[in-house]
Structure formats: structure tokens, C-alpha cells
């Protein structure tokens, strides 16, 4: 449905996007993930026909975004970053304008506008001027205008920014419900959003794609070994030796030790689950098992590893989640 081939975009001497290639199948929801300024918005601007690429080509529904722009624009709904809208128009009048601009037939227009206002929960504000709305409402009006005209492809640049947690949940549910009939490509820097909503992920960093695939593919790609972190009371050296002796364990790394307790990360090949054996081992030796959990399974850890190249992902992940 969407195909990008070696897209490159430079603004003068600055290269915003470099050699970006990906494919999105019909009905898929794809998340564009990356730190601020990574090139997410630029890629979306190219796909939405707002901006030409400097190099490479992209097609949406089989039409070239540059040479067949009008055909592409008939099939997309676009929500730009920060949802730019006409502040001096009331919500309903604005959406009516968008419906007309997108060629929704006269007789259907009122119904379609009412429908998107319903889905985005903005019907109660329909007579207000857009400029007087709060950020969250404006964002939802922006989403509503993207949905008008039932586009096959939705391009949403940070759709949940500025919303409160309940609204975020509503909008995510809405986007998730769009999958199947619509092809959705959304950008975000909120990691949990991607795992909740998207079928697959494209991680983009400094204008290049650094990883792409479904969440589990990414995890396996980035962390080929399954890792389990344990905290055990007892003599650190002896514990380390004992953990290594578990069949299948390939590496044991001491992470931290303090009086009487020690932390280890135990690595084993994927498919060889050592979590059942560690507690048995520990109790047999008379030590105490304080904590046991898997690491390297979440998108957060993948993202941190891929983007920041950090080794001790978990600590950083927590701060990322807080800001999210």
C-alpha cells in the first residue's frame, strides 16, 4: 500500500532523511519511532505529497507521490504535526469545508461530518471556534479531518500529543480500530504507544532506518539471547559459579553486588527458558531469591539499544516511560 524506495530529503546542506526504504501492507498499522528530529515528520510530509523528496521515490496505493500527487491525495488522510487548523472557523463548519474539499458528495456530507465528530468525541464542541479549543480538542479535530472521506491510507504525525491520559486511550483505541480496512502510518516518540497500537515498527534515527519489523522480530534481532536478571542473597562468587553450571547458560554477568546480595544477568539462547531452574538451584543451596525477571523483551529496550547504543537499558527505560 505504501512503498518508499531510497527516499532522501535534504534542506540545503542538512540531510533530514537519507536512503529510507520500507513497505507497508494494506490494513497494517505501522509505527514510526525515533527521537525528535530523526526525520519522522519529513518522511510523512513526503508521503502526504506536501513536499518532494530530493532523491528516491515513494508510492501510495500504487501512485507516485510526486508525479501522480492528485491520485495519492484522493486516498490519504493526513494529520500534520501540531494539527494546524483555521482558528477562526467553528468546528462543524471547518469539517464541512474539509469534506467538500475531499469531494464528499453533498448529500452525504452532513452525515459523514457528524460521524467523524462522534468518533473523535468532539460533537459537543461543534459550534465553538477552533481557536478557542484546548490543545486536546484541537488535536482531535485534526484527527477528524484526516478521517473524513474514508481515506485508504492515514498518515498521522504524533496523533496523541497534547491529550490527557484518558483521551490518549480513546484515540489509541480509535486508531487500532482503523486497522484492517485502513492502512495507518503514525509517528510517535511514546514507546508504549507503538507496542499498544502498531503491528510493526520502523525505528528511524538521524534520518536513517536503523531497525524495522514486528515487535518480536525486533527483539530477536537486537537481543539474540534471552536474558534473565536475578537478585540473590548469598556469596557472590559461589552464586555466579552455580548459575554458570545450569545447562544451556551461555554467559553470566555480575551487574551489582552489595553486602550479602548480588545481581546477575543470565544469558541463554532463545527457546531455552532457565527461569524455572534458577529458583530450584537457589533453594537447594540455601540462598534466597529476591527477584527474577526477563530483560531485553520490550520495545523500550530495543529502542534504547538501537538508538542510544546504551548497554544498561532498564534504568534509562524507566525515565522514558515517565515522560511518556
Amino acid at each position: 500500500m505504501i512503498q518508499a524506495d531510497h527516499l532522501t530529503k535534504s534542506y540545503g546542506p542538512v540531510t533530514a532523511v537519507q536512503d529510507v526504504s520500507f513497505t507497508v501492507d494494506k490494513g497494517q498499522i505501522v509505527g514510526f519511532l525515533g527521537p525528535n528530529g530523526a526525520g519522522k515528520s519529513t518522511t510523512m510530509k513526503i508521503l502526504s505529497c506536501f513536499m518532494p523528496a530530493t532523491g528516491g521515490r515513494a508510492t501510495v496505493a500504487g501512485f507516485d507521490v510526486f508525479s501522480q500527487s492528485l491520485e495519492v491525495r484522493r486516498r490519504i488522510g493526513y494529520l500534520p504535526e501540531n494539527a494546524p487548523l483555521y482558528a477562526d472557523l467553528p468546528v462543524a463548519a471547518y469539517l464541512d469545508f474539509v469534506a467538500e474539499a475531499k469531494g464528499v458528495a453533498r448529500g452525504l456530507r452532513r452525515g459523514k461530518v457528524a460521524d467523524v465528530m462522534d468518533r473523535c468525541a468532539i460533537a459537543d464542541m461543534q459550534h465553538r471556534l477552533i481557536g478557542k479549543l484546548s490543545k486536546g480538542y484541537r488535536q482531535r479535530v485534526g484527527l477528524a479531518q484526516a478521517l473524513l472521506g474514508d481515506p485508504e491510507v492515514l498518515i498521522l504525525d504524533e496523533p496523541t500529543i497534547g491529550l490527557d491520559p484518558r483521551q490518549i486511550a480513546d484515540i489509541r483505541a480509535l486508531i487500532k480500530s482503523l486497522g484492517g480496512q485502513h492502512t495507518v502510518i503514525l509517528s510517535t516518540h511514546i514507546l508504549p504507544e507503538v507496542s499498544m497500537v502498531c503491528d510493526s515498527v520502523i525505528i528511524i534515527h538521524r534520518g536513517r532506518i536503523v531497525a524495522q519489523g514486528t515487535q518480536s522480530e525486533l527483539v530477536q534481532q537486537v537481543f539474540p539471547a534471552a536474558r534473565v536478571e536475578v537478585e540473590i542473597t548469598g556469596p557472590a562468587d559461589a552464586i555466579g559459579q552455580a548459575l554458570k553450571s545450569i545447562p544451556g547458560v551461555t554467559a553470566v554477568e555480575a551487574v551489582a553486588a552489595s553486602d550479602g546480595t548480588a545481581r546477575f544477568v543470565v544469558e541463554a539462547p532463545r527457546g531455552r527458558d532457565v527461569r524455572g531452574e534458577i529458583p530450584k538451584l537457589v533453594t537447594a543451596r540455601g540462598w534466597g531469591l529476591l527477584e527474577l525477571h526477563t530483560v531485553g523483551l520490550s520495545l523500550e529496550e530495543v529502542f534504547i539499544r538501537v538508538v542510544a547504543g546504551e548497554d544498561h537499558a532498564p534504568q534509562i527505560v524507566e525515565s522514558v516511560q515517565e515522560t511518556a
Binding site: F50, R73, Y78, A87, A101, Q145
Partner: protein, 255 residues
Amino acid sequence: MGWLPIFKKEMRLYFGSPVAYAVATFFLFITAFFFAPSFIQYAEFSLRAAMQPQMGQTLNATENILRPLTYNMAVVLLFFIPMLTMRLFAEEKRAGTMELLLTYPLRDGEVLAGKFLAALCLYALILVLTLFYPATVAWFTKIEWGAVLSGYLGLLLIGAAFLSVGLFVSSTTENQIVAGFGTFGALLALWLLGWFADSAQGALRTAVQQTAIIEHMDGFAKGVIDTKDLIYYLTVIAFALFLTLRSLESKRWRG
């Protein structure tokens, strides 16, 4: 039919904000300043003429009140048209709404047509309001409606030419103030060309004179509709709109 939604949206923005009302009030207020004194003066003249019959032969309400008014309204347009057009593209660019507008399935020409026709429509509405002046004169004395309407056709054309220049300037910047002043400057330059013609000779003189935008109002104000003048204004409109279209399209190439 892609121009229609844009047209309706622009009209809503004109009338939904104070713009249309402020601009109409301003225009009527200024033109009234030109109309009232000449009207009163004419009334005094005709009173004196009633006593001196030979003087009455030179009195002609159309000639003495309405023709100068047509000229003066054309001058006021220099200030007034930039206020109508400065917002049209500049504001869309500044607010970022252009990004959405350009991703709707509308041709650039349709977007331009919608905006141009909306501005022209508002301008024509305001012109209709000024028909109050000839109507007032017609209440008291006989006027030549043919000449008056020819003057109005001239005003409509010169206004449309100004609007197209304004649209072009607005399409080149994202600052409304720059768009407003830029348009004013461009119009003033077109206007003042007539002055420079006086210091030129021969063919150059004719060329400069024919390019000056006000020269072509003459005929219309007198009640003479000349094809040459019609073609001049239509050419200016077409050329300025063509430049605007190119300026919009360049966005799609350059990004």
C-alpha cells in the same frame, strides 16, 4: 468544482472575523470624504445657476460629481486592496494550514481560483454599497447611468487587477504585514509609471504610459469602454494569477 469549497471557506473567514466589516467601513468612510464635499459644492453651484441661466449649461452632475469620485475610489483601492489580499496565502503558510490544504485532492489552480473569486466577490459587494453615491445624486437630478456603470466596470477591473497582484505577493511570503506592504508598493509602482512617462520620449513614452495602471481608467470613467483598456486589465489579471500559480506550484517542486 474544486474552487467552491475554498471560495466558501474564504467567505466564511472574511465574514466570520471582523475583516469584511472593517474593510467595508474603511472604504465607505474614505470614499464618503471625497463624495460629500463635491456633492455640496455642486448643490451650491446649481443654486447660483438657477439665477444665472447661462451658467447652467456647464453643469453636469455625472461629469462634476461622479467622474472625479470614480478616480478617487481608484486611488483609495491602492490602500484598500492589500488589506483584502494580504491574509490569503501568507496566513495559511504561517499557521501551517497550507500543509493540509496542499494535501487535499485540489488542484493548485482550484485553490487559487477559490481565493481570487472570494476576494473579488467581497470587493464587488463593497462596490455595490458605494452605488449609494450615484443613487443619492440621481435622487436630486438626472444622471447618465450608462457612464456611471462604465466607471464601475472600470473600478471592478482595476480592483481585480490589484487583487491578483495582491494574491501573488501574498503567495511569496508568510508574513501578512510584508504581504500587505509589498502589495501596496507594487501597486504604487504600477501607478506611478504614468509620471515617469512624462520625462520619456517617443516609443518609450507610449510604452510606459500604456503600462501605467491608472491610465486605462480614463476611458471607463468617461463612459467609454475601449477594448484596449479591457484587454490591458484582463492581461494584468491573467499575468499576476499565472505568477501566483507558479509560486504555488514551486512549493511542490522545492518543498
